[in-house]
Each structure stands twice: as C-alpha cells, then as structure tokens.
C-alpha cells in the first residue's frame, strides 16, 4: 500500500473512483440507445476544448466542458432533426473536434507532455481542482439520472412509446446528451480523452453478458468499472505507464474472462444435457 502515501496518488484514486462510478451510469443508456460512439465524438471535442481553453488562458477542464456541452447539444439537435443521418452528423462533430484540436494546439504551442496527459490520462497531473470539478460534475450527473432513470429507460426501449406516454422526449434526450458530455470531461483527467468512452462502454458490455435485469446489469457494470480503475491505477503506479491504457485493458480482460466463462458453462451445460439424453 506504498502508493497510498503519495498525495498525487490519493488525488488520482479519488478522481478515478468517482469516474468509475459515474461512467457506467451513463454508459448503460449509451449502449442500449445504440450510441456507443458518442463518447468518442465528444472526447475529440473535449480535446479541442482543452487546447482552446489553453489558448484563451482558461482552466483546461473548463474549456473542455464548454466545448463538449456545446457539441453534445449540437449532436442531439442534428439527431432529432435528421434521424436517418445520425452517424453522419456524429462523424462531422467528431472531425470538427479533432481539426479544432490540431489548430488550437499548434497555435498555443502547448507542451507535448501536457497534451499527452489529456490524451492518455495521468496520475501525476490530477490536481485538487480537478478532483473538485470531477466530484461536482458527477454529483450533478447522478442527481439528474436519479430523477430521469425510468424515463430514460423507456426512451431507450422505444422513443415513440415514451413520447405517447407523455414524456417530453426531445428535452430528456437533450439533457442526456449534456450529461454524457459531463461524464466525458469527468473521465478525461484519469483515463484520458481517447479512452474515456471505453470506460463508459466496456464494463457495461462485460455486465451485459451476465444476462441480468437492468439494475443488476448496472450494478455489475459499476463493480467492474471500479475494479478496473483500482487495478489500472495501481499497475500504472508500479509500471510507470499512462493509467488510461491499463484501466481500459483491465476492463477488457474482465470482459474477455466473462465471455470465456460464459462459453465454458454454456458448453458444459449443453454437453451434460446431451449425455443425460443419450443415457435415457
């Protein structure tokens, strides 16, 4: 437990655990709404926000939050008006984000170490302000989700059914898009912009395989996410590598392990069923 003695690791751990809690909460809805790539699109906008914020002398996370929320509103606006071109609209925002990030980063002459820490995450650069901002964003996300949980679930099942039932679907979809933007910014500090989307999706995908109900799937996804962040951060500390990669690889290993176990038990079940039939 040597790592716990360091202040920087304590901050990274606090930020990481909050991120691990909140990412699957949004991730489960992102997955059931079949919008798994939205986190990547918003991540690129966050990168543009960080570099743009640096250019304007803002705190990087604030710049990221401003541009990501604007992008999320734009993506949802396009989705509501051109439902058949949702993918194309998302791609345009995706490329806009990366293009702006390249322009801003060359204009600011931002040091490459700073850029890399935002892209891949870092346990050294997490500040107390970052932890406070992450906590504030996460509490906001969790509070809003608490009140909208059933409505979001029904919208995910069928948007038309939800709207006929009296739910203001355009408003709730817009709120959800903004919450997703918040979570991308929350995950940026620890996991990095490039992999924040993975922490929303992979633990949920792992829990999906257990074939449970909605709330149990969500509970398992949160457990897998927390486990991934804990193992990933500790490995990152001892191996001196960026935490984003180790956290996401841990989550992927959990996913693969569950997939293998599931296949094994299904095969075993089928085999024992066959032997009983043969004996009879």
């Amino acid at each position: 437990m040597e790592f716990l003695q360091y202040d920087f690791f304590q901050r990274a751990l606090a930020a990481g655990l909050i991120t691990a809690l909140v990412c699957p909460l949004i991730g489960i809805f992102v997955v059931v709404r079949r919008q798994s790539l939205i986190g990547d699109g918003l991540g690129h906008l966050a990168f543009a926000g960080v570099t743009g914020g640096y250019l304007l002398g803002w705190y990087p996370a604030v710049g990221a939050l401003a541009l990501t929320v604007t992008g999320a509103v734009g993506i949802e606006f396009v989705r509501q008006r051109h439902k058949q071109y949702t993918d194309m609209g998302l791609a345009i925002f995706f490329y806009t984000g990366i293009a702006l990030a390249i322009i801003f980063s060359t204009m600011t002459r931002m040091p490459s170490s700073g850029l890399l820490s935002f892209l891949f995450g870092s346990i050294i650069t997490v500040t107390t302000t970052d932890v406070a901002l992450i906590a504030l964003c996460s509490v906001t996300v969790m509070t809003v989700l608490y009140f909208l949980f059933d409505k979001l679930m029904l919208i995910a099942l069928d948007e038309d059914v939800a709207s006929v039932s009296g739910i203001n679907t355009p408003l709730i979809n817009m709120v959800f898009s903004i919450l997703t933007a918040f979570v991308v910014v929350v995950g940026m500090a620890v996991v990095g912009i490039l992999l924040v989307s993975a922490l929303m999706i992979v633990p949920v995908a792992a829990a999906y395989q257990l074939r449970l109900g909605f709330k149990k799937t969500l509970g398992c996804a949160v457990c897998f996410s927390v486990l991934s962040v804990l193992i990933g951060l500790i490995l990152s500390f001892y191996l001196d590598i960026a935490p984003g990669g180790t956290i996401v690889m841990t989550a992927i290993i959990i996913y693969v392990a569950i997939a293998v176990c599931r296949q094994f038990f299904e095969f075993k079940g089928r085999f024992s069923h066959k032997s009983i039939s043969t004996r009879n």
Binding site: I28, V32, D150, K151, M153, L154, A156, L157, D158, D160, V161, A162, S163, V164, S165, G166, I167, Y208, R211, L212, G213, F214, K215, T217
Partner: protein
Amino acid sequence: MCEVKLSKVAFAYDRDNVLNDISLTVNQGDFTAVVGPNGAGKSTIIKIIAGILSPTDGTVSVGGGTVMAARARGLISYVPQNYGKNIVGFPATVAEIVKLGIAASPRNKGYTVHTVEHIVNHMLELVGCQELKKRRIGDLSGGQQQRVMVARALAGNPELLLLDEPTSGIDYEASTKIYELLGHLNKSLSVTVIMISHDIDKAISWANKVACINRGLCFYGNSKDFNSTHLGARHLWYYSG
C-alpha cells in the same frame, strides 16, 4: 370519457397522399379493429391518433381535447409493431418492463414500492405472464413479449390503448391469445382499444367496430355489419395484400 374523433383527416408523406378525408368517432369502451390492404395507411392513422405524426389536414381530438393534451394527461398508451429489434438485447426483466409503464405515466404519481409491486403482479396476472416476472424480456417468445408489452401499456392506467399489429410475426395460437386478452381487457377495464389487424376473421370476432382503410375510409361501423356487407372487399385484399 376517452372518445377519439377524427374530422376530415388527411396525411401525405412528401407529395404522396396516404390518407384522405377520414372522419370517424370511436366511443369510450369501443374495441375497434383497423383493417385494410398493405400500404393503405393503417399504421399512419394509428400514429396520427397517438400524436407521433401530425395530420396535413383535418383535426384529431382525444378525450375532448388535443392529442398532445391527452398525452400529457397519460390517457394514451401505444404498443408499436416493431418492438422486436429493441427487445432482443434489452437488459431488463419482465417486471422492470411493466414497472416502466407505471413510472413513466403522468397519471401515476407517488406510488409506494409495495403498490408498484402489486400493480405489476396484477398486470402480469391479467395478461397471463406472472410466472415470467423474473425472466429477461429478450428471452421470451414473440407472443409472450407482446403480452408483456400490453401489460406495460396498461400499467399506466390509460383510457385509450393503441396497438399497431400486435400479432404480426406470432403463430396462430399466440395471436388468438392476444385477441382474447384484448377482448377481455376491453370489457373488464373499459379501456378503449384501437388496433391494426391483418387477420380479418379474428378482428371481426373480437372487435365490436371495424374501420376499413384504403387511403380513405371504406367502411366504419359494427363488425357484424362489415362481415355481411364487405365480403367482396375482403376477397380483394386477401390477394392484393
């Protein structure tokens, strides 16, 4: 009272007129089957009543007010035709799906956990799916899924139930059970039911009213009258559909 009134309703997708000059009144407690050949505009008319589509001409009133007002009051519940693709991978149990009908409805506020549980059990009992309560919705057969979806739709205590071909892709026995269920619910709960049907014989057997649509209203009245006077029309679309 949840009366549905369509007055000179027309609808066009771009320049293609799908519905023309449809006027009819569905009274509270009616079980109306909407029948007609493929492409006749049956789904369009249900979507107009549900407020998913707006008519290009004419007016629709539900429960004496606009469709949007009826939706905001939680009067309408809708069971679409193509739930299937969403349901297959949806990670929710049958009980969770039925609960959504209660939690999402503006009519049900402030129920305790115990009451919600009681309503879920009651709805599942009504549709004969109580033993499936803990199963994942995607693991059920098509007929079972549709019955659960009817339970979800009824859990919000609506006055008007709209169903878009609830028996499509379901075998004969399962579809008979759905008709029986809707007929029973219509009588026991006094819910007004408007459903699209491709099976004219079953529609006539279970519904008390039939609306025959073919881009306009061909017939609207008692199902028994339709049975005796429109055999020619039935014969025609059995082959054109």
